[in-house]
């Protein structure tokens, strides 16, 4: 039964997943190509110098990409469930409703990570070939909360999409927006290093929000 839910989710997200994978790899590849060009023109020592002197990380254009990928994935996965209330079909399946929703969220989160991981690997492979360990780690640590924001955006959007009433959806959306800002607060690279364990725990708790929407849906809340 769990595999059947995976199958349903795959049908919904497959084209978006492919697009997200291409975008994720494409943007990371582009950022690395830009860096490679700068390295070939000015030399790696100059890049090192700029990173140390000006706190540059050279992948700024990737900052909001995971966020949008996470948001988009939740939209293509959960909005079709709410169209004409077909979520009722899912809840009528002979499986616990919380299990069904948890499986859907877990599948989506894993598929989102599969779009992030190749991009992170591309960055890792190239950066560690031209930069000192402290410098490439500096870039990847700086990007870590962006990817965490992508997961958070996915869970928040799922929460909002599964909410049965429009008024509450707007409220939940505002709360989600305010919360998402936490992932993008300090401009200083690596500012989140000490905060990351807590941010990770909080992000991994966010699927519980969808259970609130599930409860409200099953109680028959409507506009």
């Amino acid at each position: 039964m769990i595999r059947a839910i995976f199958y349903k989710e795959w049908i919904k997200i497959r084209w978006y997943w492919l697009l997200a994978l291409v975008a994720s790899i494409g943007f990371s590849g582009f950022a690395m190509l830009r860096l490679a060009r700068a390295v070939s023109l000015k030399g790696a020592d100059h890049i090192w110098q700029v990173m140390i002197d000006r706190d540059a990380i050279f992948i700024d254009l990737l900052q909001y990409l995971p966020l949008f990928l996470g948001l988009g994935l939740a939209v293509v996965q959960f909005v079709p469930e709410m169209q004409r209330k077909s979520f009722k079909l899912t809840l009528h399946l002979p499986i616990k409703a919380t299990t069904a929703v948890s499986v859907m969220l877990a599948y989506g989160a894993v598929m989102l990570l599969t779009t992030f991981i190749p991009a992170i690997l591309i960055k890792f492979c190239y950066l560690q070939s031209v930069l000192a360990p402290e410098l490439w780690q500096h870039i990847l640590y700086t990007a870590a909360p962006w990817y965490m924001a992508g997961l958070a955006a996915y869970f928040f959007t799922a929460w909002v999409a599964l909410e049965p009433t429009w008024g509450r959806r707007v409220l939940d959306g505002v709360i989600a927006l305010l919360f998402i800002r936490i992932y993008f607060q300090p401009a200083k690279p690596e500012a989140y290093n000490d905060f990351m364990p807590l941010l990770t725990v909080v992000t991994l708790m966010l699927p519980l929000l969808s259970m609130l929407s599930l409860t409200r849906f099953r109680d028959g809340r409507q506009d």
């Binding site: 209330k85 077909s86 009722k88 079909l89 499986i95």
Partner: protein
């Protein structure tokens, strides 16, 4: 006879608006029961409560002996649900949706589904969101037949269907339910379909049940009485006479009381020339609930 569906003292409000209070009904095993009511009388509310998608303000419902809302998923496997508008996963095609559902039901009858699908003029890979309402209804019905549940809960199965698809749906469903001893609880806004399909009916008015009885008995007992009356005639209150109306000097009134009693009551009001006729289910429904 064992009751497959039992609802006791159901009360529900939307905000402060009372939908119904202390509603009680049962559906015995092997019966097809149709819930009839005007718009806003609580048909979909009742279906939503029965399907576990609405918590009533008070009261409780049981299907197959289990309280709805705390139902074991295994019990849900024995219940087929048709959502209003024949909603199915729009993003799947007929092969994908069959493959998906078959994983949940051990007794899945693939051939029953594809037998019905063979009647549709759709390509196997055509997505459900590109099908007509009639085609979607057949997909939804085919999935229920393949699931082979003990109990079927169908919300407004005729919504959006043309007469051909309605007839196909009704004939298939009745044949299936009767041959397999299924229990069916359904609503429809097209009452002629109900007449062909249901054994028992519940007719609801705002906030209450007017009658719950076998359709045969209702149609046997209910009569429409007409008489020519003078301008300004108004029928006085009489027990068991429903919704009298006068249109162009013709009085029309419905009753389930024995004919001789009704004639006697009307005679007391000066109506001696009274015609009585049998009614169909739609007329009986109008007779009980009124035209407006």
């Amino acid at each position: 006879m064992e009751n497959v569906i039992e609802c006791r003292n159901l009360t529900h409000y939307y905000g402060k608006r009372l939908i119904y209070k202390d509603l009680n009904f049962n559906v015995p095993r092997g019966r097809i029961l149709g819930l009839l009511g005007k718009n806003g009388t609580g048909k979909t509310t009742t279906i939503n409560i029965l399907s576990g998608f609405l918590q009533p303000r008070s009261g409780e419902c049981f299907i197959l002996g289990e309280k709805i809302g705390q139902m074991n998923p295994e019990t849900r496997r024995r219940i087929g649900l048709l959502i209003e508008g024949h909603v199915q996963y729009q993003f799947m095609n007929i092969e994908q949706i069959e493959k998906f559902y078959s994983a949940f039901y051990p007794n899945w009858k693939r051939e029953a589904y594809y037998e019905l699908m063979s009647r549709l003029q759709v390509a196997p890979h055509q997505r459900i969101n590109r099908m007509s309402c009639g085609q979607r209804s057949q997909v939804a019905l085919g999935l229920i037949l393949a699931q082979d549940p003990e109990v079927l809960v169908l919300d407004d199965f005729s919504l959006g269907l043309d007469p051909g698809y309605r007839r196909l749906f009704v004939d298939y469903l009745r044949e299936y339910a009767k041959s397999e001893d299924k229990t069916v609880f359904l609503t429809s806004h097209i009452i002629q379909d109900m007449e062909r399909l249901v054994d028992d009916c519940i007719i609801m008015d705002y906030g209450r049940i007017l009658v719950q009885m076998p359709v045969d008995k209702l149609l046997n007992d209910m009569h429409r009485y007409t008489a020519t009356v003078a301008d300004g005639f108004s029928l006085g209150e009489a027990e068991g006479l429903y919704n009298p109306s006068v249109v162009r000097n013709t009085l029309e009134v419905f009753s389930m009381r024995p004919q001789e009693e009704v004639r006697a009551v009307l005679a007391q009001q000066g109506l001696l020339e009274v015609a009585a006729e049998k009614v169909n289910l739609e007329d009986a429904f109008i007779g009980l609930t009124g035209k407006y």
